[in-house]
């Protein structure tokens, strides 16, 4: 029997702010010594008053707009009550009935072509502290992360395979990093995901029992954990067993999912509106301001690169993967236009030579861009287009520009890399060759036409190979007939 797979992802993304969600402590917890970014608010001390971080709300709304959501006008922060040592106040401030953003979508490459994955909601909440378990049976609590602003992005159960789940997660990361609301750093936990998965026999209407896999922190693991879990559930069903709604954890070491606590009922969290935080009322004008902050998104830019710049789908994809690279390319194209250089040629320099140099040096483009300015890509192609340099010299000049941070034109001039095609320099060398070799000239004039080959050789030697033999021959013939 065939089984249908239903997957929904809940993604937790740290909102990139300087300070925490409800207090002025630094949200940069990764490298800080334990319990140094804490205050009465984020340690849940009695009498402290939480005040929402305006920027966190703005960035969460910006995310909602990027994900095609509607932004709710009335927002309530709620308390989600449960006891755990990493939660200092005994409740997590979150949103329940009134999420900030609702009804969005993300377009991905599905298993059967383009696919739209629905988004149920994006809501804001605070992160918990960090627990470290000791060998002698204790747990150590660090509250630096407590109160760090998070967004929870919940998808509809529209995903039907582990590969699609990975692609959806990757697409979401791309967008979040692109609009600057999240660092995309999955290793430090700034972006992590829980996956809900169920299977049911083909033909059955009702969904199977939902199993939640917690805390997956890489694209590879989301795919592997889901593949394992689907296999496990299908095997159980085939053996006539029942799947129980439950929570499991992904165990990297064994490549399996492991049963965790049985899921508590939502009612047990006893959500109620946070009395210390007045409602957030977001006006249409405020939402319009957020919309104005929204940059062109990767999909739209990719399309534009293909139509306006004549890029292949592959190049357009590569050049819209990362915002920094994409913006750099745009700057290079802006410099290329007035020089009559085609955006396509600029793309070739970027994805070919520059990516190779970055790979060799191990740098990011942002770092290397301080030396290799975007306009240098346009400049080197212009030199090539105008026949000033050969392709070999162009690469050499580009490499030097990358290493030294100087303009290719300057490098070409200093190193005498310019093709000696015509003009005074070549004429001088041609005259010199004629003056130095009266015998050969005599033979040529006497009818031995092939004698010119020797003269061409002499001039080429003088130009150190930076002239085209055809140009040299032409110049020689001109001089020889004139004299």
């Amino acid at each position: 029997m065939d089984y249908l797979v239903t997957i929904g992802l809940e993604i937790h993304a740290q909102i990139q702010t300087r300070s925490k969600m409800f207090c002025g402590c630094s949200a940069d917890y990764a490298a800080a010594p334990p319990n140094t970014h804490v205050c009465p608010v984020c340690m849940g001390l009695p009498g402290s008053l939480p005040v929402p971080n305006r920027r966190a709300i703005e960035l969460a709304a910006l995310t909602g707009l990027a994900l095609n959501c509607r932004i709710a006008s009335d927002n309530v922060i709620s308390r989600k009550n449960y006891f755990y040592a990493d939660l200092p106040s005994g409740y997590q401030r979150s949103q329940y009935d009134d999420p900030l953003c609702v009804n969005g979508w993300v377009d991905i490459d599905g298993d059967q072509g383009p696919k739209r994955i629905g988004l149920t909601r994006v809501h804001i909440e605070e992160d918990t502290g960090k627990l470290t378990h000791t060998a002698d049976g204790g747990s150590l609590v660090d509250f630096n992360r407590a109160g760090v602003p998070l967004m929870e992005i919940v998808s509809e159960p529209d995903i039907t395979s582990p590969e699609e789940a990975r692609r959806y997660f990757q697409k979401l990361r791309q967008i979040l990093v692109w609009i600057g609301v999240n660092s995309g750093d999955m290793e430090s936990g700034a972006l992590r995901c829980d996956a809900n998965v169920s299977v049911r026999p083909a033909g059955q209407q009702a969904y199977g029992a939902k199993v939640e896999i917690k805390n997956i922190n890489s694209f590879r693991f989301v795919e592997r954990a889901l593949a394992y879990e689907i296999e496990r559930q299908v095997t159980s069903l085939r053996a006539g067993e029942r799947i129980v709604q439950s929570t499991r954890g992904w165990d990297e070491a064994t490549g399996t999912t492991v049963a965790q606590r049985t899921k508590e009922f939502a009612e047990d969290y006893r959500y109620f509106p946070e009395p210390d935080i007045p409602p957030l009322r977001l006006t249409e004008a405020w939402v319009a301001e957020r919309r104005a902050e929204l940059p062109e998104l990767p999909d739209a830019r990719r399309q534009r690169f293909m139509t306006d710049y004549d890029l292949t789908p592959y190049d357009a994809t590569v050049l819209t993967d990362e915002r920094a690279v994409s913006d750099y390319y745009e700057q290079a194209v802006a410099a290329a236009r007035p020089r009559g250089v085609a955006p396509k040629d600029v793309a070739n320099w970027l994805t070919g030579e520059l990516f190779r140099l970055l790979k060799d040096s191990g740098e990011t483009l942002v770092v290397a861009a301080q030396r290799i300015r975007p306009e240098y890509l346009a400049e080197v192609q212009e030199l090539l287009n105008n026949g000033v340099i050969t392709r070999t010299s162009a690469k050499e000049a580009f490499d030097a520009a990358f290493r030294e941070g100087r303009a290719p034109a300057q490098i070409v001039a200093e190193r005498g890399m310019a093709v000696i095609g015509a003009g005074d320099a070549l004429t001088d060398m041609v005259r010199q060759a004629i003056a130095d070799n009266p015998k050969v000239v005599e033979e040529y004039r006497g009818g031995k036409v092939t004698a010119i080959k020797y003269l061409i050789g002499q001039v080429m030697k003088a130009t150190r190979g930076q002239a085209s033999p055809q140009a040299v021959q032409q110049a020689l013939e001109q001089e020889l007939t004139r004299q």
Partner: protein
Amino acid sequence: MALTLAEVEHVARLARLRLSPAELEKMREQLSNILDHFQMLQQIDVSTIPPTAQVTDLVNVMRDDELRPSLAREQALANAPVQQDGMFRVRAIFEE
């Protein structure tokens, strides 16, 4: 409205309270009385009044994303019954 003992036990468990049978019975009576009082409030017609969880009439109280000094770690840990390596030490946490 009389609560059952099972309901009281459930609420006690959520609040991490360990109650003796006598205390459970006492709580059952007291909580039932409180609920009765709310039952009375529920008879008032509020259909024309929008629900609210606030009494201050404030909206949009927010702060700029600026850093403010945190506590010194010694201060943060001052009331910790047990501490270790600059952290609060608690009993091992077992998954239920």
